[in-house]
């Protein structure tokens, strides 16, 4: 079976096998192989098996699909071919082995002993972190804009109309610890909590109550997106970013 190995520079990002079902490639999350980069069309190309051959078809993408340096519309692929889309490359492989993402110059670390914990050295680590950040660049915010996570009170009794989520832990409730102070008589001490993680994403989880986001109960801590409406203990709060 053939495999598509998605690479960004030298780092292997993911691998997808091509079986009886075709693999679509593009920026939209519903593709079989998602490349989250502005240079990639939402539905860019597809790879499929036809009469024993592995085929690639470009869907008339804006920035094109290149195989071994040539821009292509429809070609057959063989193991070892390199397909380039934007800054990413896709290596065609028919082996079933797990690929090794380590550069060849770090041979000693390339095959860690079972359960032996190893550390990427400084240079490898810096390169890797740049690569993963680059791979997800379209999802990142332009650094010049400062966005402040905010809760706007849409319904219910609280001590303010709006709250800035500047702390790593925000408690919604009656407790002395609570940032979002509930005023209703029988409000719980801690109805729910919001955590800011180190990547500046915000997660809501239940405490004394099970909150809902847009009507869906929150069973596990759930990442908040702008426009989400949180309902808990008689209040409704909208999560937004203010610039």
């Amino acid at each position: 079976m053939s495999k598509l190995v998605l690479k960004f520079e030298n780092a292997i990002l993911t691998e997808v096998a091509v079986g009886a079902k075709e693999v679509s490639i593009g920026r939209s999350p519903d593709n079989g192989l998602v490349i989250d980069n502005p240079a990639v069309s939402h539905y860019h190309a597809r790879v499929f098996n036809e009469e024993g051959r592995l085929m690639l078809e470009d869907f008339g993408s804006m920035n094109g699909t290149f195989v071994n340096g040539q821009r292509v519309k429809m070609v057959s692929l063989k193991p070892g071919d390199s397909v380039v889309i934007g800054k990413h490359s896709i290596l065609i492989s028919d082996s079933r082995e797990v690929s090794n993402p380590f550069p060849t110059n770090s041979g000693a670390k390339a095959a860690p002993k079972i359960n032996e914990t190893v550390m990427l050295d400084t240079k490898e680590r810096r390169e890797f972190l740049q690569k993963v950040a680059g791979a997800g660049e379209s999802a990142q915010v332009a650094p010049s804009r400062v966005k402040v996570a905010t809760l706007i009170v849409r319904k219910g009794k609280t001590d303010q109309h709006e709250y800035t989520l500047s702390n790593k832990l925000t408690v919604i409730g009656k407790s002395a610890l609570a940032t979002v102070k509930l005023k209703a008589w029988f409000a719980p001490k801690a109805a729910a909590q919001i955590n800011r993680r180190d990547d500046n994403s915000y997660y809501i989880g239940g405490a004394d109550k099970v909150p809902t986001i847009n009507g869906q109960p929150v069973i596990h801590p759930t990442k908040l997106s702008p426009g989400d409406v949180i309902a808990v203990a008689g209040v409704e709060l909208e999560f937004i970013y203010r610039e």
């Binding site: 990002l13 993911t14 691998e15 998602v34 989250d36 797990v98 993402p101 670390k109 860690p112 079972i114 359960n115 032996e116 914990t117 190893v118 550390m119 990427l120 400084t122 680590r125 890797f128 972190l129 993963v132 950040a133 791979a135 997800g136 999802a139 500047s166 702390n167 790593k168 832990l169 408690v171 407790s175 610890l177 029988f186 719980p188 801690a190 909590q193 955590n195 800011r196 993680r197 180190d198 990547d199 989880g205 239940g206 405490a207 004394d208 069973i219 596990h220 801590p221």
Partner: protein, 275 residues
């Protein structure tokens, strides 16, 4: 003071070499007088992993104890915004541990390259602060649901976070043990700190990767739910990890915020909450 006195943390802990390794390079420290609990997992040849993990755990407890008696003890490293003083103190302690291990590694040739991962939890005022570096983890069990409180600083976890790999692909990867951060490798380290609300009946688990490589979240949750007491839970988790292979050292600390009410008071409490 009142809330501090009311905070009752029941704890149990166990560290085991496992069934494959010859040495136990994990260390843990229990400092209930500070409500502070630490797990470290050492790495490095010639038994230096043990040295690193012991030194790291020891340094963290010592720094927090010093801060207790000396309120103006300076913080090591930069203050983190948006977290409590206690959280900043814990991060400071972890940074100091990094320096201690790094210096020791520089000074002794046999210990060159040694390092450690750490997860530390400190309870205060209905909150728990978690600080971690590397792939030692904290989990919380609340109402039977197990939630991770830490994200590993590892090659695999970083790819999952950026959406470059699914959790399932990650679980099958052969590169589970490749870290992006550890104590002792460089003169400075970035410490990840989080604060969590603590509810009555919550259980917090601190563990080294020897547990999480062998057991699924479901198995861990079941073991924590089944045990009456925290020490029983810790022993049971280690036993299960050994039964599953015991491929690495296994260390667990199980911490439970004991309910304050019992019997009639709890029933009245529940009645007021309307449940």
């Amino acid at each position: 003071m009142v809330s501090q006195a009311a905070l009752e943390i029941e704890f149990g802990a166990l560290s085991d070499t496992g069934r494959v390794r010859e040495n136990n390079e994990d260390s843990f420290r229990l400092a209930p007088e500070l409500n502070l609990f630490v797990v470290c997992d050492g790495m490095g040849g010639q038994a230096s992993g043990e040295v690193a993990s012991q030194l790291a755990a020891e340094t963290i407890v010592a720094h927090c104890r010093d801060a207790e008696t000396n309120p103006v003890l300076p913080l090591v490293g930069e203050r983190i915004d948006g977290v409590s003083q206690a959280a900043n103190r814990l991060a400071s302690a972890v940074r100091l541990a990094n320096r201690s291990v790094h210096q020791a590694a520089q000074q002794n040739e046999a210990q060159t390259g040694m390092g450690a991962t750490v997860v530390a939890a400190q309870f205060m005022d209905e909150r728990v602060t978690i600080a971690h570096v590397g792939d030692s983890r904290a989990y919380r069990l609340r109402n039977g649901e197990l939630e991770p409180l830490t994200q590993d600083h590892s090659f695999i976890a970083e790819q999952v976070r950026h959406g470059l790999m699914t959790a399932e692909e990650a679980s099958q990867s052969k590169l589970q043990n490749v870290l992006l951060r550890a104590l002792g490798i460089e003169p400075d380290v970035e410490v990840e700190v989080s604060e969590e609300l603590l509810m009555e009946g919550d259980t917090v688990l601190l563990c080294s990767d020897g547990l999480t490589h062998e057991l699924s979240d479901e198995q861990i949750a079941a073991a924590l739910c089944d045990a009456e007491e925290t020490q029983e839970a810790a022993s049971h988790l280690v036993e299960l990890a050994n039964q599953a292979g015991g491929g690495d050292n296994i260390t667990v600390i199980v911490l439970r915020h004991a309910p304050k009410f019992s019997g009639a008071m709890a029933r009245i409490g529940r009645w007021f909450k309307g449940s």
